[in-house]
């Protein structure tokens, strides 16, 4: 029988990704990365990181 290591996919991972995104965007952690001494493009890097994780998750879910 198919014993999938993906047993916990994909919803659990989606929730984890959302929690990570919320941690980055609305937790006190934001105060650390969003300070004026940081380069201007830092918010874009964080945004890109979240997009990359979403892409990775989709890529894994689609793989048979």
């Amino acid at each position: 029988m198919h014993h999938s290591k993906d047993n916990d996919k994909p919803i659990d991972k989606v929730i984890l990704l959302l929690l990570l995104a919320l941690f980055l965007l609305v937790s006190p952690f934001m105060a650390w990365w969003a300070n004026p001494s940081a380069p201007w493009y830092r918010p874009y890097l964080i945004w890109l990181f979240i997009i990359a994780l979403t892409w990775w998750l989709q890529h894994r879910t689609r793989r048979p």
Binding site: M1, H2, H3, S4, N7, D8, K9, P10, I11, D12, V14, I15, L17, L18, A21, L22, L25, V26, M30, A31, A34, N35, P36, A38, W40, P43, Y44, W47, L48, I50, I51, A52, T54, W55, Q58, T61, R62
Partner: protein, 987 residues
């Protein structure tokens, strides 16, 4: 640099003409299908989210609110991260139940026309300022380029062209159930224009104003307050509120809902969009800070909202300026077209149709035509209403402010949509009370102040003053109070109110984790009755068209009568009508016309299929033990499916539940045609074969003969009642039938029997030659003698003797011919057989072969003993047995045939006086190819064949033997009584 009005007008017309052409080319099929349906096209079409607010307003927003402007897109990113559990379920619901708008979705879930009306009115009210914003952006961008104040003619011309486009390409089909490929490709093209224009201005700002990244870096070092102005508002401003608002807007805004769900052509495209769409938004916003700083550096004369346009204008770059202007027109036009289409569909389904559809039915209006023109009229009215709103609104509001009013409005649907997807207890009253309260707070805190500032309302109520709160940020204040009150009332009222049966049913359809199969069967018994019943309300033509469409969707024929399929047809009709006239009316019409018999039990097969269908859909959502159990279920189902033996399970209601591959190959009947049918609805011979077997008490039938397409087939049938350890009531009375195709084996057996018969003839050949040789010699002698005899009496005597001898030869030949009768497979019709005669005949044949050996056959079998069977095959049994007995007998030995029969059974003992059979051989002598004879003297098939033939006759054979004292074969067969009736086949 300045532009003339006429040039801008021509540019707008030319650009919109290009859009017309793209949409037209797509609709005509000139654009390849793989491009139209490509996930990236779908992703770009979602770019309708980026309106003039994003295109022009982001720079102004960044100036006033710093990086808070990014929340509008980060919120969308969060919503698309959740696409597997948030957007995908909504997409499935809208596709499955043909729901074309948010109002349809809520009306369907809360089973309320009022819900549809409230959602539509609130959406209209919340979106009109947004449409006005778009017209204002186009008009103001033109003012920036012409540096003149009035731009009313351009705004009006823009609106009229959009009406034309929306009517031609957005309301091309009768209902929203058809996709508008032309519209999707045109909107995707518009997104591409927006993106390239903003990237071009961004690169122009970076390299044209700052001379590259290093120049920008130097400028930022000289102006540290510029970065500070971006980061500081994140800590102080409405960051979290805006994130929440954008999260809701990502899929609840009418245009987003329309492009994400209604125009979606492939479910998989949503998965691509979950990362590609946020990436598109990131690229769109990448250069916003750079454009802002470049505008500040260049001291652009316009407000920051129009820096995007002011930069190339001040730098005297006419082509880039026009490109950006077109980008702005793209942003505005895409939003207006899609929003209007979505709102028109909502207004049609929830405001117009409920009031006037009945009258249209009565007057015999062509409903399709009426619906089409109704939507087109609504499109015109909505765009003109937006234009009216633009005219009366005060123009000192920032672009973002107008957009955010709509964002807070659509956020009021969040509690309702979460309840819809995940809370079955949510009720219509809870939804309506919560939404109404949220809408009132929204209006008091945002809409009324806007109208006050525009001079439309003289004085309103200051909610903040009533609550004695100091309002620093109107967005957070409005969002917090409206959403909190909305959500509290939604959950509170839901808990204290009851759901109607329809609501319970709709809630089950919306929450994918429910597995309750539908109840009741349709009272109409044929497709014709469906058309007839529907035609009483919607006219003959429309009824027939809708029934034909539903049949086509389901792949059914007009002669369909299966109850399960008819209920599917009813569901499909309701869904199709839902796409046409909204879910509530569709449900009412179907409920009234195609009534269900609630007392009739749903076929078990149907319930099974429903649950299996649900499991298929929710496969990816299953996890843990549920996923393992599902994998186990699939494995077991596959085992049954792939079993090289026909498997067919039948429910207690005689409905076929399962029909595996082998069954399909044997019967040439496809599973999907058969499953759901009653056994007696199967074509011949299957209904008779399986039905009669199901009714008999026998659990096994052997070598049942039947004819399929004129060809003889043989089957073994086995049956078992399905019982569950849990004693679940739903399985009681179910059966499984196994069908074993013996045709090939039977053919082989017949060939072997024929070979054995020929082998017997071979063994008899010497005796036959001897037997025939004697009379031939006699004839020759008699013929010679006749030559010398003159006496007529002696001649006659001689001739009589010759004739006697020829008769003797003839008898021998006849016996041989009978015995060697063809062994081809054919149906053996049972006839009464006299056993004594049969034994006599076999004895004669055997005597032919016993060259010189004198074995005495003593036949004690009574002359009246009869059985039903095939004489030819029984003759073979006796020949084989006697032949073996003779082989082991010495000259002078006797072979006894005793009769020990009773009333029901015939029992024969055939005993020889041979050396007997060793015990270890006794167990194996009936096996094929087992022989104790020397190689070449026996095939080892004789006894095996006798065993099979007797079994086919419902009899048996066994042996008793003692070494040195001979062997006895005991044959048991059912007796034939002339007055009893026998089954047709040998079984």
């Amino acid at each position: 640099m300045m532009f003339d009005w006429s040039i801008l007008f021509l540019v707008v017309v030319a650009y919109l003409s290009v859009l017309f052409f793209i949409a037209y080319a797509t609709e005509r099929g000139w654009v390849p299908e793989r491009i139209v349906r490509h996930p990236l096209v779908y992703t770009l079409s979602l770019g309708v989210f980026a309106t003039s607010w994003s295109f022009y307003g982001s720079v102004g927003f960044a100036q006033s609110q710093g990086y808070n402007f990014l929340t509008i897109y980060l919120g969308v990113t969060l919503a698309f991260i959740l696409s597997p559990i948030l957007l995908k379920p909504i997409l499935r619901l809208t596709r499955e139940y043909q729901l074309s708008s948010l109002a349809d979705l809520f009306a369907f879930r809360y089973h309320s026309q009022t819900a549809g009306v409230v959602v539509t009115l609130f959406m209209l009210l919340g979106t009109l300022p947004y449409i006005a914003l778009q017209i204002r952006a186009v008009s103001e961008s033109a003012q920036v380029l012409t540096q003149q104040q009035t731009s009313v003619p351009l705004a009006l011309a823009f609106c009229l062209t959009l009406i034309l486009f929306a009517v031609l390409f957005g309301a091309r089909h009768i209902s929203a159930r058809e996709k508008h490929e032309g519209l999707v490709v045109a909107i995707a093209f518009e997104s591409l224009i927006k993106l390239t224009a903003l990237l071009a201005v961004g690169l122009f700002a970076l390299f044209g104003v700052f001379a590259g990244p290093s120049g920008l870096e130097t400028w930022l070092q000289q102006h540290p307050q510029a970065i500070d102005a971006l980061y500081r508002p994140m800590q102080e401003g409405p960051w979290s509120t805006l994130l929440l608002l954008a999260f809701a807007a990502a899929f609840l805004l009418p245009r987003q809902f329309h492009m994400t769900f209604t125009e979606n052509m492939d479910e998989k495209a949503l998965a691509t969009a979950s990362w590609a769409f946020p990436l598109f938004l990131l690229l769109l916003n990448l250069f916003i800070p750079v454009i802002l700083w470049a505008g500040m550096e260049q001291n652009i004369a316009t407000s920051a909202d129009y820096y995007v346009l002011g930069l190339p204008l001040q730098a005297n770059a006419p082509w880039l300026t026009l490109w950006v202007f077109i980008g702005g027109v793209s942003a505005a036009s895409a939003m207006m077209i899609v929003t209007t289409l979505a709102l028109a569909a909502m207004c049609m389904n929830h405001l117009v149709i409920p009031i006037s559809l009945h009258r249209r039915f009565i007057t015999g209006t062509n409903i399709y035509r009426w619906l089409l023109w109704g939507r087109r009229t609504l499109i015109t009215i909505i765009i003109l209403a937006g234009y009216g709103f633009y005219l009366i609104l005060e123009h000192n509001q920032g672009l973002v402010q107008l957009g955010l009013i709509s964002f807070v409005a659509v956020a009021q649907f969040l509690p309702g949509i979460i309840g819809l997807l995940y809370w079955r207890r949510a009720t219509r009253s809870g939804f309506l009370v919560g939404l109404s309260a949220g809408a009132i707070i929204w209006a008091l805190t945002l809409l009324v102040p806007l109208l006050e500032r525009s001079g439309i309302l003289l004085s309103g109520i200051d909610l903040a003053q009533l609550l004695r709160t100091q309002v620093d940020d109107p967005w957070t204040f409005s969002t917090f109070w409206s959403l909190s009150v909305n959500a509290l009332l939604f959950f509170g009222v839901s808990l204290f109110t009851q759901r109607s049966n329809e609501e319970v049913e709709a809630a089950q359809a919306c929450c994918m984790d429910t597995f309750n199969p539908p109840i009741g069967i349709v009272q109409a018994k044929s497709v014709g009755q469906f058309s007839e019943l529907l035609s009483r309300i919607m006219g003959k033509d429309m009824a027939q068209q809708e029934v034909a469409l539903a049949l086509k969707d389901l792949g059914l024929n007009e002669d369909e009568t299966r109850t399960t399929e008819l209920r599917h047809l009813r569901e499909r009709l309701e869904r199709n009508l839902s796409g046409l006239i909204g879910p509530v009316l569709a449900h009412m019409i179907i409920d009234e016309r195609l009534q269900l018999d609630p007392l009739a039990q749903v076929a078990f097969a149907d319930s099974m299929r429903f649950v299996e269908g649900r499991l298929e859909v929710s496969q990816t959502e299953l996890k843990g033990v549920a996923a393992e159990l599902d994998a186990l279920r699939r494995y077991h189902r596959q085992v049954l499916h792939d079993l090289p033996m026909g498997v067919c399970s039948i429910g207690p209601d005689q409905v076929i539940i399962n029909w595996n591959v082998a069954m399909r190959l044997i019967s040439k009947l496809e599973g999907r045609e058969v499953v759901g049918k009653k056994i007696d609805q199967l074509p011949d011979p299957w209904s008779g074969l399986l039905g009669s077997f199901l009714r008999t008490r026998d659990r096994h039938l052997h070598k049942v003969h039947t004819s399929i397409d004129g060809r003889s087939r043989w089957f073994n049938l086995h049956k078992a009642a399905i019982d569950t350890p849990t004693g679940s009531a739903i399985y009681t009375g179910s059966n499984v039938i196994l069908l074993e195709d013996l045709t090939d084996l039977q053919t082989l057996e017949a060939e072997l029997a024929h070979s054995e018969r020929l082998a017997s003839i071979g063994r008899l050949a010497a005796g036959v030659a001897h037997e025939i040789g004697n009379p031939v010699t006699n004839i020759a002698c008699l013929a010679q003698e006749l030559g010398y005899v003159d006496d007529e009496a002696e001649v006659k005597n001689g001739l009589a003797q010759i004739l006697e001898q020829t008769r003797r030869i003839s008898n021998i030949v006849q016996s041989l011919v009978k015995f060697s009768h063809s062994g081809v497979v054919e149906e053996h019709t049972p006839n009464p057989v006299n056993i004594r005669e049969c034994i006599e005949e076999a004895t004669q044949l055997i005597r032919l072969g016993q060259e010189g050996k004198q074995v005495n056959f003593i036949n004690d079998c009574p002359a009246e003993l009869m059985i039903m069977g095939d004489k030819q095959r029984l003759l073979q049994v006796f020949v084989n047995l006697f032949s073996n007995a003779c082989d082991v007998s010495r000259s002078g030995d006797a072979i006894h045939i005793h009769d020990n029969s009773d009333d029901r059974k015939l029992r024969l003992r055939i005993c020889d006086q041979g050396p007997g059979i060793a015990i270890e051989h006794q167990e194996r002598i009936f096996e094929p190819f087992f022989t104790t004879k020397q190689p070449g003297q026996g095939t080892g098939l004789g006894l095996a064949m006798a065993y099979n033939i007797l079994q086919e006759h419902g009899g048996s054979i066994r042996v008793t033997s003692e070494l040195g004292y001979g062997s006895c074969f005991i044959l048991v067969l059912p007796k034939h009584h002339p007055h009893t009736i026998h089954i047709e086949t040998l079984s």
